[in-house]
């Protein structure tokens, strides 16, 4: 396989993977309004757990890590996703219950830095600053894949998983739970006054979103075969935020556009450019500056994103819900109807 195709499939993989990551953050931030600045920490937990579950026992490998159960591919990935969810429960119980937005954001960003610090320094857990490497490639043995043919196959697998997760997520966002999430995002006091247990719903949203984070992280470590702590500094969380804010908060089509534009074209395509002689890393640094600046410009000029959230038709109070006429059909949005006139449906900026 030629080098060009190798690059193309790498980009395809990152596109699908960041679509999954963006869906996870979108349900937390875009749908429920939880400003999860520690998102990349959940991705890393998913990645590390997927890694240590598929690696053989650490004795004699030159690396130090827990578990080492040699589990086959989809099982370790699933458990990686579930570990991220379990961690989300712990975080939510301590932080989410009692803190308002900016307090919570401070605690979460601190958490993100502390997780980085611990994984970077505490070798017996995930091999310290070296990170995990030589993680077995899934299917490689069964399908007789070599390093080159593995990449398109795994990009395809990731695509299939992304589509499955998209289907699940669109069911979630259209369900009554999804409407409750958006009600909390728009005004948590109103949602609480209507008898919704705000914390319980936020917890639910954190668990679902973190599962997606864990799956996305697990796919990352399976794709590249390695993962180290520098991959989860808070700046990485920002890239996922950029994906959903550029594409459009609160809708899954927007996330596809965002993943394509931000992650694939802006973050990963420049990584294939030849380095400028005498200035290693300059392209990468400059690229990050561009991503940050683009996001600010986007927030200013088009805060609703490239694909805005559909303004859901508000059903009148007491009106029967319209039958959903196929995918994309109108769904009665009772939240907007129940909320007082001042509260708006949709995530648009005031």
């Amino acid at each position: 396989m030629s080098g060009t195709w190798y690059y193309v499939f790498t980009l395809v993989f990152f596109f699908f993977d960041y679509f999954i990551l963006a869906m996870g953050l979108n349900i937390q931030y875009g749908e429920t309004g939880i400003l999860n600045f520690a998102y990349i920490g959940f991705v890393a937990i998913g990645a590390y757990m997927t890694g240590v579950l598929s690696l053989p026992s650490s004795a004699g490998t030159g690396q130090y890590y827990i578990l080492g159960l040699s589990l086959p591919f989809p099982v370790n990935l699933l458990l990686g996703g579930l570990s991220a969810s379990a961690f989300a429960v712990l975080v939510a119980l301590i932080a989410l219950r009692r803190l308002r937005t900016d307090y919570l954001a401070m605690v979460l960003i601190s958490l993100s830095l502390v997780l980085y610090d611990i994984s970077n320094n505490y070798v017996p857990l995930f091999n310290g600053a070296d990170g995990l490497y030589n993680v077995p490639e899934p299917f490689a043995g069964a399908l007789h894949l070599n390093t080159n043919s593995f990449i398109p196959v795994f990009a395809g697998v990731t695509g299939a998983i992304a589509l499955l997760l998209w289907f699940v997520m669109s069911r979630v966002t259209r369900s009554p739970a999804g409407r409750t999430f958006r009600a909390i995002r728009d005004d948590d006091v109103v949602a609480a006054a209507l008898g919704k247990d705000v914390f319980r719903q936020q917890l639910k949203s954190m668990i679902i979103g973190s599962f997606y984070a864990g799956i996305g992280g697990g796919l990352l470590i399976q794709f590249s075969g390695s993962f180290n702590p520098t991959a989860w500094l808070p700046g990485e969380t920002f890239v996922v935020f950029a994906v959903i804010l550029v594409g459009g908060v609160g809708n899954n089509i927007g996330l596809i556009v965002g993943s394509l534009l931000v992650e694939t074209l802006l973050v990963h395509l420049p990584a294939f450019l030849p380095a400028i002689p005498g200035a290693p890393g300059l392209i990468e640094y400059f690229d990050a500056v561009v991503v940050g600046a683009l996001l600010m410009a986007m927030l200013w000029f088009r805060p609703q994103g490239i694909v805005p959230e559909r303004v859901r038709k508000a059903a009148r109070m007491g009106a029967r819900e319209r039958p959903a006429d196929g995918p994309g059909g109108l769904v009665g949005e009772d939240v907007a109807a129940l909320a007082p006139a001042g509260a708006r449906a949709g995530g648009r900026a005031r």
Binding site: N121, F241, L299
Partner: protein, 308 residues
């Protein structure tokens, strides 16, 4: 034989005490750096009512300004360079507020937007630092330090100067807030912005001045952090950020005196613990204290009524 064993236990205890007092000295130095940075962050939070997530990068950038004046441009004395570099960071903070943060804060009422903008600003500033100065560790150009004994505590000349700077800064902030008209206006604005505005306080001017002070204190704390740590990297400020957050939350967000007390507590706790646990995790102790505070007294030690 028994005597010998007794003597060695005695010696062990003496060493333990010595280590303890040494770490107290380091703790006071860390607390000094923390106090300057936490007060800078709190002042700005009190006025604008949102957290500046780029504050760690303000610190690093201020330190690099000092570094440039000290090593690259004018070859100034490190302390002169620190003062000028910090004021330069203050000026930059004013510009960033005027052209980036203030427009967003005016336009969007939800805190989300401006928090994400400060987060984005952090990414931009960090990578600008990397682009200009690279990822290599840099060192300030300063004369060799001499050690001084104060009873059991051992401190170098530069550590004493850093502590002096912190004390002077705290007294200056206290005087500013309690005595001057500007400080009274700042306190009024922090309590209730619209009421302050209707009372004839020029809130825009106060906000600008606050950003200048906050940026200068960020630059100052970043520079003295570089001096006490002995080196400088672009990510230094960002990694220090959660320790500042811990001080601020433990003290009570928005309370200046709380930030000072929190800085003292966290500074001593991190350094003293480093004498007993692996020093690589000393900063994580700050996070543990943060979590305990959240569980026991989420509004902090010096909570302001009606906040958090």
């Amino acid at each position: 034989m028994v005597l010998l064993a007794f003597a060695s236990v005695e010696g062990g205890q003496g060493q333990g005490m010595q280590l303890f007092w040494l770490s107290v000295g380091f703790g006071l130095v860390t607390a000094s750096v923390l106090a300057i940075s936490a007060v800078g962050l709190s002042l700005q939070f009190g006025i604008t009512n949102y957290i500046n997530f780029a504050y760690g990068d303000f610190m690093a950038l201020g330190a690099y300004f000092s570094y440039a004046l000290n090593n690259e441009l004018l070859h100034l004395d490190i302390w002169v360079a620190t003062v000028i570099g910090s004021l330069g960071m203050g000026a930059l903070a004013v510009l960033l507020n005027h052209f980036v943060l203030a427009p967003f804060a005016r336009r969007f009422h939800k805190t989300f937007y401006v928090l994400i903008v400060t987060f984005g600003l952090s990414l931009v500033l960090l990578n600008l630092e990397y682009s200009i100065w690279g990822a290599d560790v840099r060192f300030f150009n300063m004369s060799l330090d001499r050690a001084h004994h104060f009873g059991p505590v051992l401190l170098t000349t530069s550590q004493i100067i850093v502590m002096g700077i912190a004390v002077v800064t705290m007294l200056a902030v206290h005087t500013l807030l309690k005595v001057t008209r500007l400080g009274k206006s700042m306190r009024a604005m922090s309590d209730n912005t619209s009421l302050a505005m209707t009372s004839g306080i020029d809130t825009k001017r106060i906000t600008t001045i606050t950003w200048f002070i906050s940026g200068s204190l960020a630059g100052l704390s970043g520079s003295v952090l570089g001096i006490t740590e002995g080196n400088l990297t672009p990510a230094a400020g960002e990694l220090f950020l959660f320790v500042i957050f811990a001080s601020v939350i433990v003290g009570g967000v928005g309370s200046i005196y709380g930030a000072m007390a929190g800085a003292l507590l966290i500074g001593l706790a991190t350094e003293v613990s480093a004498a007993y646990i692996n020093p690589a995790y000393k900063l994580d102790i700050a996070f543990v204290i943060l979590i305990v505070t959240l569980l026991v007294r989420p509004s902090g030690l010096f909570a302001r009524p009606g906040r958090a």
